[in-house]
């Protein structure tokens, strides 16, 4: 069920959400990604639903590309940090390193410089990340995984209280879409990620890669997913440059499968072309038919 709401005043939107069935996904279209992010999370009940005072919050951001449309708009991340601190987060750590230059891509940087400085980042986990026993741990096998074997993942994913996944919905040559589920590859060493491509029955086997991505999501489900669907590359992904679309939306939810299916359609892909959606559904990670969920679409 998709409800469309045209937003005129903050109170109107808050009232609509409060009086309605709690949405599974909130999609906010607007000219300002910072504001859209606030409304998207607000539509799910606010950051307070996810972050409690004193919590340590781990955030995973797809920030490691240079082409606009290939990285998350920093305004989305700044809005998420602000909301998390306001909800009482004591410590915010970026689970994959964010280079300082990333923040320079937004005009909000001077205003929020001090707030950003209060966050931590796992500097060693940047492409092409290598194993270091102080920061990574080896996992022999994830229970329920059908393809994924031994891997090396960032330790802090198991130490944080709250996990917020912030991907961008965009093209990936081999998987068609990269968004919520695939973003978790940012938690692993490069050597572990390469296994996704080369350890299957065929080299660069899309089916094996999709199963591995779905399996990886058994590691730890995100408590909150915020997808940047403001401006995305739809060819030559994941790095671009390529053709782009500008849906102008920020989407929040907690179901990684539904988020991927829904966001795929927003940038013009067919959800069924994203093999990890089906694989994730079969693993019980979420709902592939997002039409069965309650989705609130808002235009600011």
């Amino acid at each position: 069920m998709i409800k469309q709401v045209y937003f005129l005043m903050g109170l109107l939107f808050a009232g609509l959400i409060a009086s309605a069935e709690k949405p599974d996904i909130v999609s906010v279209k607007g000219p300002d990604a910072f504001v859209s992010t606030q409304h998207a999370v607000g539509g799910l009940g606010g950051m307070e639903q996810f972050v409690r005072p004193g919590n340590t919050v781990g955030i995973l951001v797809n920030s490691g590309f240079r082409e606009k449309g290939a990285y998350v708009d920093p305004d989305v991340v700044i809005a998420a940090i602000k909301m998390a601190f306001e909800a009482g987060a004591d410590d915010i750590v970026f689970l994959q390193h964010i280079v300082p230059e990333y923040w320079e891509r937004t005009e909000l940087e001077p205003q929020y410089r001090e707030m950003i400085a209060r966050t931590r980042t796992i500097e060693i986990n940047q492409f092409p990340s290598e194993f270091h026993e102080d920061y990574f741990m080896q996992i022999e096998h994830l229970e329920g995984a059908l393809a994924l074997g031994e891997m090396e993942v960032v330790k802090e994913i198991f130490e944080i209280d709250v996990f917020i996944n912030i991907p961008i919905a965009k093209n990936h040559t081999l998987t068609t879409l990269t968004n919520s589920m695939k973003n978790l590859m940012g938690l692993k060493t490069r050597a572990s990620n390469v296994k996704f491509h080369l350890d299957g029955p065929d080299r660069n086997d899309p089916d094996y890669l999709a199963q591995s991505i779905a399996d990886l999501n058994l590691l730890r489900p995100a408590d909150l997913i915020i997808s940047d669907v403001t401006y995305s590359i739809i060819t030559n992904g994941p790095s671009g440059p390529g053709e782009t679309v500008a849906p102008g939306k920020v989407v929040a939810g907690i179901d990684p499968v539904a988020m991927d299916a829904y966001c795929a359609e927003l940038i013009g892909f067919f959800a069924e072309d994203v093999l990890s959606v089906e694989k994730g559904y079969l693993l019980g990670l979420g709902e592939k038919d997002y039409q069965k969920l309650t989705i609130v679409e808002v235009e600011l």
Binding site: F65, T173, T178, N236, P241, F270
Partner: protein, 281 residues
């Protein structure tokens, strides 16, 4: 508005030796290539599967075309700024041309013997023999075009080549503004138009010509019977997959509309299949 700059640099010189014997590391411009430049770090080089440690997503595409090795370096100049260079040695001239055609996108290029160069959005793309070079000039402060022209000349001097097009690509229009791509597998096709999971066209070699609101895809096969067999499979898939509407077809042609409203017109030819995708208004 996106500014596109066109330039091409033609070097006429004798072929002293085959370029295929030189690795990317041996060819890539080092700090000595021009006075005043210094390398920010040692040249990085990767071969085979290790390409995954250079490219964060998309290495599989290079492998589909046929990848040998790559070298990468950042050069800095006190006045001019920084240049980032990646030089890929592919398995064949065709493979290098294919990557060049895909990576340059719709940036214009004139067709000369060698090298071919296209520059736009602060990125220089060069095809020279079995090498594809990408230079990012986003960190450049001044004289970008002049520096890029010298880089193209350097590559041409270092690796004399003739840039022989794949046979099926020789039909491409000889126009500097034509936008085309040469494909050597399903991943490249997926970058142009997705027919869904799998590889219903059994894509090994294809050429795509982009026109306003249209993409013309020509798939080539080793024999006419194979082309006809694949065409029959494509027709059956499109009729039954559920992702296309209004399917009509016979043994020689089909018509269908995808769920985005794009119209697809397919035609069976001798040793080839032609598909035109007309974008919805």
């Amino acid at each position: 508005m996106k500014q596109k700059i066109l330039f091409i640099f033609l070097i006429v010189c004798g072929i002293a030796f085959s370029s295929k014997g030189q690795t990317a590391q041996e060819v890539i411009p080092g700090p000595e290539w021009q006075e005043g430049w210094a390398a920010s770090y040692e040249v990085m080089s990767y071969e085979g599967d290790d390409l995954f440690f250079l490219i964060n997503g998309g290495a599989d595409l290079y492998m589909e075309y046929g990848f040998a090795d790559v070298a990468a370096v950042e050069l800095s100049h006190p006045e001019k700024g920084n240049l980032y260079i990646e030089l890929y040695r592919m398995d064949s001239d065709s493979a290098a041309f294919g990557i060049f055609s895909l990576r340059k996108g719709d940036i214009s290029v004139k067709i000369y013997p060698a090298p071919w160069a296209a520059y736009g959005d602060d990125v220089l793309h060069v095809w020279n023999g079995n090498f594809y070079m990408m230079v990012s000039g986003g960190q450049m402060k001044t004289a970008t075009l002049e520096t890029f022209t010298k880089l193209v000349a350097y590559l041409a001097d270092k690796v004399p080549a003739e840039n022989e097009l794949p046979a099926v690509a020789r039909q491409l229009p000889d126009s500097e503004s034509s936008h085309y791509a040469y494909l050597m597998g399903p991943l490249a096709l997926n970058n142009i138009y997705s027919f869904g999971p799998g590889d219903v066209f059994h894509t090994r070699e294809a050429v795509v010509l982009f026109e306003e609101n249209q993409k013309h895809l020509n798939f080539y096969y080793e024999s006419e019977p194979l082309a006809k067999e694949v065409f029959a499979g494509v027709r059956a898939y499109m009729e039954n997959s559920g992702r296309f509407n209004d399917f009509q077809g016979d043994q020689r042609s089909f018509h269908a509309v995808d769920r985005r409203g794009n119209r697809l017109l397919g035609k069976s030819g001798e040793k080839m299949i032609q598909v035109t995708v007309e974008e919805a208004e």
